[in-house]
Amino acid sequence: MTALSDVSSHAMASARWRISEVAFWALALACAFLFQSRYLIMTDIVRLGLFALSLDLILGYAGIVSLGHAAFFGVGAYSAGLLALHGIINEPVIALVAAGLVAAVLGFLTSFLVIRGVDLTRLMVTLGIALLLEALAERFSDITGGTDGLQGIEMQPILGLFAFDMFGKTGFFYSLIVLFILFLLARRVVHSPFGLSLRSIKNNPLRAAAIGVPVNRRLIAVYTLAAFYAGIAGALFTQTTALASLDVFSFERSADLMLVLVIGGTGYLYGGLIGAVVFKMLQELFQSITPQYWLFWIGLVLVVIVMVGRARIHRWVLFVPNLVIRQFAGRKAAVAVPESDVS
């Protein structure tokens, strides 16, 4: 067997749908019918999951540490808000795609700044871009509404058929479907040769370049894609809540997103989704204990996760599921996530 066919067969094997994945989505759909009174928070989770998926594409797969991913979220949110407010594109789905494209253009333009330099410079540049956009949004308050945010957004029915209702049912299913479609796309991307080359860049850019991977072009491409995803997440935020305010750009949003991804685990697509669920639950829990000081507990979770070690925590969490899978499918079965997954 040649090296090439070995790589491709490996890629195809890992791209196959597993039972656990089907179960995950079935569970997500089941939640939609089980917890009918909690659509709003579930929409929140779905949105956050999509946003985390976007960060995972650049952080988990390409190894770019970004402190300003909220920039694209914010641009998507404001684009969707402005499109709806001024009646430019009334149909939510088209507006959603348009907002994503605006964010993607911004991502493409800023990617040239981000691919230069080392980790630290990237941190600073991404953080700087997000802060810059926040300052701009505040400055041009006649367009963005300044600190008050965009007021009076009215969403038209989706595809002209499904109107947004006050319980958030339409919003939730809409978000879930968008998430699922984008997830399929992301899944296709990361299991493609393109995705494999991204991983090689993450592991060692120098060697990746040596075997003929165009490092910078790949990074630009994935950064643009991630910006598109983040823009969609932002647009979903505006469309389902009918508001867009300055805090869509805030540093806390980017920092929380890192936490979401770290809880779920970087470098596999479900990390962001699982992280979003756990994060929201933690947030609810902390907010119910200490409404004003939940930030402390979130910070503590971060510190503990880092001190214990991210890889180790995931090994512990996945010990039981992996054990179950092995019992049913034999010792060499594919486990939910490789135990040696180091990110």
Partner: protein
């Protein structure tokens, strides 16, 4: 003309303050290659220690300043020994997450203990008002800041360049392995430097309560400023961050005074441009580590 000079002086004072606040970060981030976003938390600790001593215990302002330094340094060394030490060799992502976690905890903890409103430190009467120097109005408080920070900068430069500890630190930074081989206790040097940097931040925090404002969100609000100082200034010497903070201070004060509508826009743009033009900072060394 006079107002330009007054603004220039304000900018210099502001810049020097930023330098004292950020030079500890220049060491941890620039020299030890540790991304410590929680640096502002130590500054905040110093500010609040000073505020409590002056406002509640009735200490004189100048006696509380050294204690702000000592208190922050002690917190710094305690955290360094227990937590930071384990993270020096971790990835930048881990360091970022860890220090963001610390920032969140410090923000919420201070909010809980001290309340969320802005805190003012009672100043002695001698520091209030302006003095008139050749027709240029100069705030007394700012003059004191310039004097204190100027002296500190000189002292730091002398310590780094002339003393035995300074040469140890430079050796440990240039090549930790070779330094260990020469019998230098590198972890100890780093711990001491870290604590000293935290102490300076605490002192800076105490001094800055009057100018920058002191509230629980201080570490988040000024994080970007500290990072700008270090990344723009580079880390090869103490002069780089010093010049960078002067530049930042003057630009910020001038920007707020002359083009108030643009807000912080100017500074962020300048930072991004400089980072693209010289990824290792204006005065940085060329080798990226």
């Amino acid at each position: 003309m006079a107002s330009i000079l007054t603004n220039l002086f304000d900018g210099v004072a502001y810049g020097m303050l930023l330098f004292v606040l950020a030079c500890g970060l220049a060491v941890t981030l620039g020299l030890m290659n540790f991304v410590n976003l929680a640096h502002g938390a130590f500054a905040m600790a110093g500010g609040y220690i000073c505020a409590v001593l002056v406002n509640q215990s009735g200490w004189p302002f100048f006696a509380a300043l050294p204690l702000a330094f000592v208190g922050s340094a002690l917190i710094g060394i305690a955290l360094e020994r227990t937590l930071y030490r384990h993270l020096y060799s971790r990835s930048h992502l881990d360091q970022v997450l860890f220090s963001i976690g610390l920032v969140f905890m410090s923000v919420a903890a201070v909010d809980y203990i001290m309340g969320s409103s802005r805190v003012f430190i009672k100043l002695p009467a001698a520091l209030e008002g302006q003095i008139d120097l050749f027709g240029v109005g100069i705030g007394r408080y700012r003059l004191m800041i310039v004097v204190i920070c100027g002296l500190l900068t000189l002292a730091l430069q002398l310590i780094l360049a002339k003393t035995r500890f300074g040469s140890r630190l430079r050796a440990a930074v240039d090549d930790p392995r070779a330094a260990i081989g020469l019998g230098i206790n590198v972890p100890q040097v780093f711990a001491f430097t870290f604590a000293f940097g935290c102490g300076l931040a605490g002192l800076g925090g105490a001094l800055s309560a009057e100018i920058l404002g002191l509230d629980p969100y201080f570490p988040l609000k000024f994080m970007i400023y500290f990072l700008i100082v270090v990344t723009v200034g580079g880390s090869s010497s103490i002069t780089g961050p010093f010049l960078a903070s002067l530049l930042l201070g003057i630009a910020d004060v001038a920007g707020k005074y002359y083009v108030p509508k643009l807000g912080p826009f100017v500074i962020y743009t300048v930072m991004i441009v400089i980072l693209l033009w010289r990824p290792n900072g204006l005065f940085g060394r060329t080798a990226a580590r």
